[in-house]
């Protein structure tokens, strides 16, 4: 399984990166939605994308919409700072598969991995 963490906050990005790595999963990082879209356009494929909502240059909602329009079928989990209903609805409407409030925990991550593993056609991606 390959994962992509997209977050403009350095502390959160590194924490999520190490959290995912600790489960034996290869993980890349991107600082904003624009970089994430570029990495995927360049041929990187991810089973799981953790997408922060509020980021400069390109936010998580726009990036998610763009990736779905490109035909990306990765599991996209929207990561919000608040558990506010409209933030969750916005992310799901943009094409995210689910939303979680940060910070993530080992337990939350494991539940996501279990779901990704059960998604038909979601096999290990390749990375450049």
């Amino acid at each position: 399984m390959f994962a992509l963490v997209v977050d403009d906050d350095r502390t959160t990005r590194i924490f999520h990166q190490v959290l995912i790595s600790s489960e034996g999963i290869d993980v890349h990082v991107a600082e904003d939605g624009h970089q994430a879209v570029r990495m995927i356009t360049e041929g990187n494929k991810y089973d799981l994308i953790l997408m922060d909502r509020d980021m400069p240059t390109m936010n998580g909602l726009t990036a998610t919409k763009m990736l779905r329009e490109m035909g990306v079928t990765s599991t996209i989990v929207g990561i919000t700072s608040w558990d506010r209903k409209f933030e969750i609805e916005d992310f799901l409407a943009a094409g995210a598969d689910k939303c979680l409030a940060k910070p993530l925990t080992i337990e939350k991550l494991r539940s996501i991995f279990a779901e990704v593993a059960n998604v038909p056609g979601q096999t290990s991606g390749t990375k450049n």
Binding site: D9, T11, I14, V18, S22, S81
Partner: protein, 151 residues
């Protein structure tokens, strides 16, 4: 185990517990500690150091933004949002709580409220920074005396 190491171990456990008990850090900090191992022995200190650097930059930016003749509340909110995110990632509960109040003041475009929040935020940030730096010093003393993790 050596007497000195045992003493330091006790000191470390008691100090860490006090930080949780007094609300400076929450369960999220334990998540960071769980990720620290032989392959990543300084993970907590490294991540928290990044938090310190980014937080001080953001506090500086907040001061500048709130000192403008016309306050850009969207900009202020963006900085507070970032600080809320990073403080929640390391479990700095009191900093996180002030950020939530601060964001409400931004939404209301309440300049005085924002200024007060900035003062409180700075105060809480430097308090937790001081506490965590003390924690790391005790950890280093413990390891220098021959202690190891997990305890």
């Amino acid at each position: 185990m050596d007497g000195v190491v045992l003493q330091l171990q006790r000191k470390l456990i008691d100090y860490t517990n006090s930080l949780f008990h007094e609300g400076y850090i929450n369960e999220q900090f334990s998540q960071l500690q769980q990720l620290q191992d032989e392959s990543n022995p300084n993970f907590v200190m490294e991540v928290v150091s990044l938090f310190f650097q980014d937080s001080e930059r953001l506090l500086n930016e907040l001061g500048k933004a709130l000192g403008q003749p016309v306050i850009d509340f969207k900009k202020v909110d963006s900085h507070v949002h970032q600080l809320k995110g990073s403080s929640s990632s390391i479990g700095a509960q009191k900093v996180q709580n002030v950020c939530m109040t601060f964001r409400s003041c931004c939404e209301q475009q309440n300049a005085d409220g924002c200024l007060t929040c900035l003062q409180v935020l700075s105060s809480e940030y430097f308090l937790v920074k001081n506490k965590l730096e003390t924690l790391f010093k005790i950890e280093q003393q413990f390891m220098a005396a021959g202690g190891s993790f997990p305890m």
